[in-house]
């Protein structure tokens, strides 16, 4: 980058344009992140719908892509305003002091969110806190600081965005050219990192996903896993002849099935995506028993919800919740096969949950218990 505080890129017109782009990407990230949070932790009476099938895939793909797009934009924006860090006097009054104070959580929060998000999609956790919890809290703080900043800079930014430099000779002056080229560089770099990473969820660009930590076609049975059977310590239990799937809870008739009995039940097939919170996704053809058929067999109430339990001994995602929309959706399955093959151990053999519009972490693997509520 051009050095020196006198460089034309340290200009309110550059800062306003980059700020506008970051305002859009951060708002998109916040809303899609909030949707993901509510999908995993239903609150405020929100219940994730089961349709459209690919909504979570779309929102989470956008969340990660806009986060990655924000990285070069944030670097460029911080560079354009860098000399202001050393402005003297540092504060010119109470209003200016408040405005400057709000910039710290904005800058620190933005860097924190992008760094932890990038680390998370790589399954890299060099800290001692729960990633989703802190990412969520930092997102609220950052978006709040962003709103304050937008308010404080509203008039100045509007004027800067409207400003068109005069070009009497038909050619821009060197300073204008420098500003434009700096913006081309920032937006170009942003587009390029998205182009080389979004293929992990957007199939037409799959072969270009050189910066992506996952490939949607790589893994057992041709798609990735987050937790392997070995990691989940289920290899022995999954292959035990004593395996049973139990349906208990708020039912008229508790049920228990061996694997052969499950295979003998009416099977249904659906093409559904595994959509991971880390941004990758892969669509596959799943075959298994409809959850709603099991609920009907057990005599569950018409609007019953259900908790799905795995036999893995530990882990945050050994159980998940099906709300009544999801439990009664015709495509919510306890899958025994994927693409016509018996599930691989790493994909949840002997039985896993797969349902439309759910985060991958809630598509519980190695299931042995359905508790009707």
């Amino acid at each position: 980058m051009t050095a020196g505080a006198t460089s034309p890129v340290h200009d309110e017109r550059v800062a306003a344009r980059l700020g506008l782009a970051l305002g859009i990407t951060f708002t998109v990230c916040f809303l899609t992140g909030l949707y993901s949070h509510l999908a995993q932790h239903p609150s405020w009476g929100f219940e994730l719908p089961a349709r459209p099938v690919g909504l979570y895939r779309l929102t989470q793909g956008i969340h990660v892509a806009t986060g990655i797009a924000s990285i070069p934009l944030l670097f460029a924006k911080l560079w354009s305003v860098y000399p202001q860090l050393f402005q003297w006097p540092p504060v010119k009054g109470v209003a200016h002091a408040i405005e400057r104070l709000a910039i710290f959580p904005l800058v620190a929060g933005s860097i924190f969110l992008l760094f932890t998000g990038l680390a998370n999609i790589n399954l890299w956790y060099p800290w001692h806190f729960d990633f989703p919890t802190m990412h969520y809290r930092a997102a609220w703080i950052t978006i709040g600081a962003l709103i304050i900043h937008v308010g404080a800079k509203w008039t100045q930014s509007r004027r800067a965005l409207r400003h068109q430099p005069p070009e009497p000779t038909g050619h821009a002056d060197p300073a204008t050219l420098d500003r434009r080229r700096f913006l081309y560089t920032a937006f170009g770099a942003s587009a390029l990192v998205v182009l080389f990473s979004v293929g992990e969820t957007f199939r037409p660009l799959e072969r270009l996903a050189l910066l992506s930590p996952r490939r949607p076609d790589t893994g057992p049975q041709g798609f990735p896993v987050n937790a392997t059977a070995k990691e989940a310590q289920v290899i022995t239990l999954a292959q035990s002849p004593d395996y049973r799937l139990q349906v208990t809870g708020n039912v008229a008739r508790p049920l228990s099935f061996t694997l052969d009995e499950l295979r003998a039940l009416p099977q249904h097939s659906a093409t559904l995506p595994i959509s991971c919170v880390e941004g990758w996704s892969a669509s596959r053809r799943w075959t298994g028993i409809r959850v709603r058929d099991l609920l009907a067999m057990a005599g569950a109430p018409p609007h019953a919800a259900a908790q799905v339990l795995s036999f893995q001994p530990g882990g945050s995602y050994r159980s998940s919740q099906l709300n009544h929309f999801q439990a009664h959706d015709p495509d919510t399955l306890l899958a025994l096969q994927v693409n016509g093959e018996t599930l691989a151990l790493d994909h949840g053999y002997p039985c896993r949950l797969i349902g439309p519009d759910r985060p991958g972490v809630l598509q519980t693997k190695w299931i042995n218990h359905l508790v009707v509520q």
Binding site: Q156, R159, T185, E231
Partner: protein, 165 residues
């Protein structure tokens, strides 16, 4: 920043509106910290939250400034923007792929071959190569346009020619 500043009253109104709308969002995040306080994880959070900003302001930005002085200012003015784009694009590609280049995810889950499955040295080198090719093409475009502009300025304007004849 050559334009006159907007009136302080307008700015103050904007700031107040921002505070009214923004503080409740910050309060949601802070309230969640307070309601579920955990000392060790909060300290770790602070280290990354504050540390990230400090690393940017006192390491990344000064290094960028040094590169500006040491490299970009030494090349002809026409080549500065493409060179800056090449360096910036390369740095961003390396930063985005840093966990992959260091195999951090793979080290954490050695049994999971689906994490970071590529040879990322080759992958990042390819992306950086694309960045430099695009920057070189941009330089060519800038040089061609500059020559055209010089030719246009050197040629006398038709109206003046007519006036002189």
């Amino acid at each position: 920043m050559s334009n006159p500043s907007p009136t302080p009253t307008r700015e103050r109104r904007g700031l107040i509106a921002g505070l009214v709308l923004g503080v409740p969002f910050i309060a949601v995040g802070v309230a969640d910290f307070v309601a579920n306080f955990d000392g060790p994880s909060f300290r770790s959070f602070l280290r990354f939250f504050i540390g990230g900003a400090l690393v940017h302001d006192f390491v990344v930005a000064p290094v960028a400034a040094l590169i500006g002085v040491a490299v970009i200012r030494r090349v002809p003015a026409l080549a500065r923007a493409p060179l800056r784009a090449a360096l910036f694009g390369s740095a961003v590609a390396v930063a985005v792929a840093w966990p992959e280049l260091r195999s951090y995810g793979r080290m954490r889950t050695p049994d999971n071959k689906t994490v970071q499955p590529l040879n990322y040295t080759t992958a990042v080198a390819t992306v950086v190569g694309v960045v430099w090719i695009i920057s070189a093409l941009w330089l060519v475009v800038i040089i061609v346009r500059d020559h055209r502009n010089r030719d246009g300025r050197a040629r006398p304007e038709p109206s003046r020619q007519q006036g002189l004849s």
